[in-house]
């Protein structure tokens, strides 16, 4: 037997911590030129398709004629409003003598608002043919009153920034409906009567697109006993609005009006539209994330990886962090790039251009990068479980896309459930408006995708340590 002194490695202070692992994985990721090209290609495709989509979305001038200039497409602020200035506290009373039943949500009643400009804070008390008396404010508040129809007496009272609505059958005994607070209401407010009516909407969903056709639908109502009663005595200025000149002391009005004042569920989400181009970039990232894992199995390189770092769960975790991080950064480049280059193209025809100062828009843009990162980690986890490119790619793409593809041909309720329960819920992070087909809110949607990813990654980590490499 040969006896020698035991050999000692000449390398000083080797370390195999998590940082070293991440550095190793980053070196792997960046050193295959084809992968880098794929990443860059993904960014470019995302931006280019975002611009094309923005161009396509803009030319239909976002949601037809009903859009109100200057305010978020989420709201419609139209109709026919006859108003005069009320300084300080006071109230307005009127009887809605009659109303045309042209839509369940046709509106006729009283409105008090900060000013006459679109999007101003408002409180409106109205009668609707299908939903009775309602007190609504600022597009989102909706307090139901009785289910009475015209003729009906209505009263709005302002105290400070609080506005209270009352209804009555005879103009003598009043029933309170509710109180709303209007932030930003100044000393002077506009008060008056209004008529509004949603457009007649035809919605056709079919594979590969939706068609929304809106036709103007005229609402009509007659008001009498209209009286503005200031708390402090004052000279009331004349009535203004889209009517023939009326006497300052007129108490009866017949109004005809198109357009609605309400939350609008059919608006074009131009931010989401342009960011949808990220779906192409996402495909590149899915392919890359899968290859990042499966190529090691195919080439037997996984043995080298696991001999260098035998704690396999940590290897997988390091991979997820590196790939997720890289994708997030590149995703930010792609998403902001898309927004900056594509939104000028939307702006041309849009009522209210999206800006990054809008928190919803900022969340959608940053969220797109997060979405890409989570999808990358999800693909990585699935690939680590399945180990084969073809299987992993198909599973990931079907989980992400099939609910969207299938959804457009299924009844809306089913489609929404599909989008809530599958990984494609993550796409919700790109929406900035609430629509009739919104399945899930942005953050919960991303959370669903994250949950899928966490489960897949957890399972992959659990299994990789128990399996033969």
């Amino acid at each position: 037997m040969v006896m020698t002194t035991p050999y000692r490695s000449s390398v000083q202070n080797p370390r195999d911590g998590f940082v070293q692992l991440m550095l190793a994985e980053w070196t792997k990721l960046r050193s295959v030129p084809r992968w880098s090209l794929t990443m860059l290609g993904g960014i470019l495709v995302t931006i280019l398709s975002g611009m094309l989509l923005a161009g396509g979305a803009g030319s239909a001038s976002s949601g037809g004629d009903g859009a109100t200039r200057g305010i978020s497409p989420q709201y419609r602020d139209a109709g026919n409003y006859v108003h005069r200035v009320l300084t300080g506290d006071g109230s307005i009373v009127a009887r809605v003598a009659s109303q045309k039943n042209n839509d369940p949500w046709a509106k006729g009643g009283l409105m008090l608002r900060a000013d006459a400009k679109p999007g101003a804070p408002y409180a409106a008390l109205m009668i609707t043919p299908g939903h009775g008396v309602r007190l609504q404010a600022n597009f989102v508040t909706d307090i139901p009153g009785s289910s009475s129809q015209a003729p009906r007496w209505l009263k709005l009272t302002r105290t400070g920034i609080s506005v209270t609505g009352f209804e009555s059958a005879d103009g003598a005994t009043w029933t309170k409906i509710g109180t709303v607070e209007l932030e930003g209401l100044g000393d002077q407010a506009e008060v008056g009567v209004f008529v509004a009516s949603p457009d007649a909407l035809q919605l056709q969903r079919q594979f590969g697109g939706e068609d929304i056709v809106e036709n103007t639908n005229l609402g009509e109502a007659t008001f009498d006993n209209v009286k503005v009663e200031p708390a402090k005595p004052q000279q009331l200025p004349p009535w203004r609005g889209d009517i023939k000149p009326v006497a300052p002391d007129a108490t009866s009005f017949h109004l005809v009006g198109a357009g609605d004042i309400a939350f609008y569920h059919y608006a074009t989400d131009s931010t989401k539209t342009m960011l949808t181009g990220a779906m192409f970039g996402m495909m590149a990232i899915v392919a890359l994330a899968v290859l990042y894992v499966t190529s090691e199995y195919q080439q037997g390189l996984i043995w080298t990886t696991f001999t260098a770092s035998p704690r396999r769960g940590r290897v997988l975790a390091a991979r997820a962090v590196v790939l997720g991080g890289v994708t997030f950064v590149l995703g930010l480049v792609a998403a902001f790039g898309t927004f900056l280059l594509a939104s000028p193209m939307v702006r041309k025809g849009n009522a209210a251009p999206a800006t990054l100062s809008d928190p919803q828009v900022l969340r959608a843009v940053v969220g797109t990068a997060a979405l890409l990162a989570v999808v990358a980690v999800f693909s990585l986890a699935i690939a680590s479980i399945l180990r084969r490119s073809a299987a992993a790619i198909t599973v990931v793409l079907l989980l992400l896309l099939a609910p969207l593809v299938a959804g457009s041909a299924l009844p809306l309720a089913v489609a929404k459930w599909l989008e809530r329960l599958t990984p494609s819920a993550g796409f919700a992070i790109q929406q900035t408006l609430e629509r009739y087909d919104t399945a899930i809110a942005p953050l919960p949607g991303l959370a669903v995708l994250c949950a899928y990813t966490a489960v897949a990654l957890g399972f992959a980590i659990w299994r990789i340590g128990r399996q033969d490499a």
Binding site: Y7, S9, S10, P14, S295, Q299, G300
Partner: protein, 311 residues
């Protein structure tokens, strides 16, 4: 920590196939241990278990007294080359070594050192996809040497190499062992290990057949045999067999005789009128010794196919 590789009662099966079956042996530092067995004998499986890649069904495989998966910065303790093709074809040679170095916190200068050691410095910035088999083999060895480890495990390192490459690897193995490292090298051809291995672990069908030093094996295989060169092979065999010797034909004009001393053979042949052109004590090659050895392992014999014979 003692740089010994040790396998104890190892068993590993894949489904119905038993790849390793109760194998025990150890690899000492300072020498090259050959790990020999025919295709499918279980060499690669044993090595994968040693490296913590596969989990054994029974028994254990230890490197430096510990299980591989418990090692910290393992590249500095065990270097391994399992499969020469295990590179991403699109990655440059240097980048391949660089990520390995990063994973164990080794300085980047080690990468250049090992590239130099295996003679790949000039192609370090080329993609591995364009490498020849020999270059890949060298790159694999560079990866094994990256952490300058005291234990080395090579699976068929000479597979597909030209004679010059084989020489290079032999010298490298000797050099590494000479520094006091434990070196385990597998091969399915005994001849590949001639001149490089000090010790041999022979397995067949997952079982240990021999665990012996090379010298011992050769001595045992020689076993007092005498080689005779003669044009009259048939006559020679008859004469010697009658005298009680065991005679085997080893070629068209040569026979091997055992059971008789050289002088007696000379006398018998001369008396019998058999001419011969040479007579010498038999020096078995490692290959022959291996054959000899495996001949006795009956169950292995059945799978190893026929042993070459001229009779």
């Amino acid at each position: 920590m003692e740089a010994t590789i040790e396998v104890r009662g190892l068993r590993k099966s894949y489904g119905p196939t038993v790849a390793v079956d109760g194998l025990s042996f150890s690899v000492q530092p300072g020498q090259v241990t050959g790990f020999v067995g025919p295709n499918g004998a279980g060499k690669s499986t044993t090595m994968r278990v040693l490296l913590g890649l596969d989990t054994p069904d029974e028994g254990e495989a230890l490197v430096g007294g510990r299980r591989y998966r418990e090692l910290r910065a393992p590249l500095c303790q065990v270097g391994a080359m399992l499969d020469a093709a295990a590179f991403h074809p699109g990655r440059r040679a240097r980048d391949h070594l660089l990520w390995m170095a990063h994973s164990n916190g080794l300085p980047a200068k080690r990468v250049d050192e090992v590239l130099d050691l295996v003679g790949l410095t000039s192609v370090a910035r080329r993609q591995v996809g364009g490498f020849s088999l020999g270059m890949r083999q060298r790159l694999g060895i560079a990866g094994a040497l990256l952490g300058d480890p005291p234990m080395l495990i090579f699976d068929e390192p000479v597979n597909g190499l030209d004679p010059e490459g084989i020489m290079w690897i032999r010298n490298l193995l000797r050099w590494l062992a000479g520094q006091g490292r434990a070196v385990l090298v597998s091969s399915h051809l005994m001849s590949e290990l001639e001149d490089s291995a000090d010790h041999l672990v022979v397995i067949g069908r997952g079982k240990l057949i021999a665990d012996t030093s090379v010298r011992e094996l050769l001595d045992r295989a020689a076993n007092g045999r005498v080689a005779v060169r003669t044009a009259q092979r048939h006559e020679a065999m008859t004469v010697l067999s009658i005298a009680g010797a065991t005679v085997a034909a080893t070629g068209p004009d040569s026979v091997t005789v055992s059971g008789l001393p050289v002088e007696r053979i000379v006398t018998l042949l001369t008396e019998g009128g058999v001419s011969f052109s040479g007579i010498s004590e038999h020096r078995p090659s490692l290959e022959e010794a291996y054959m000899e050895l495996t001949q006795h392992a009956v169950e292995f014999h059945a799978t190893a196919g026929q042993v070459r014979s001229w009779s």
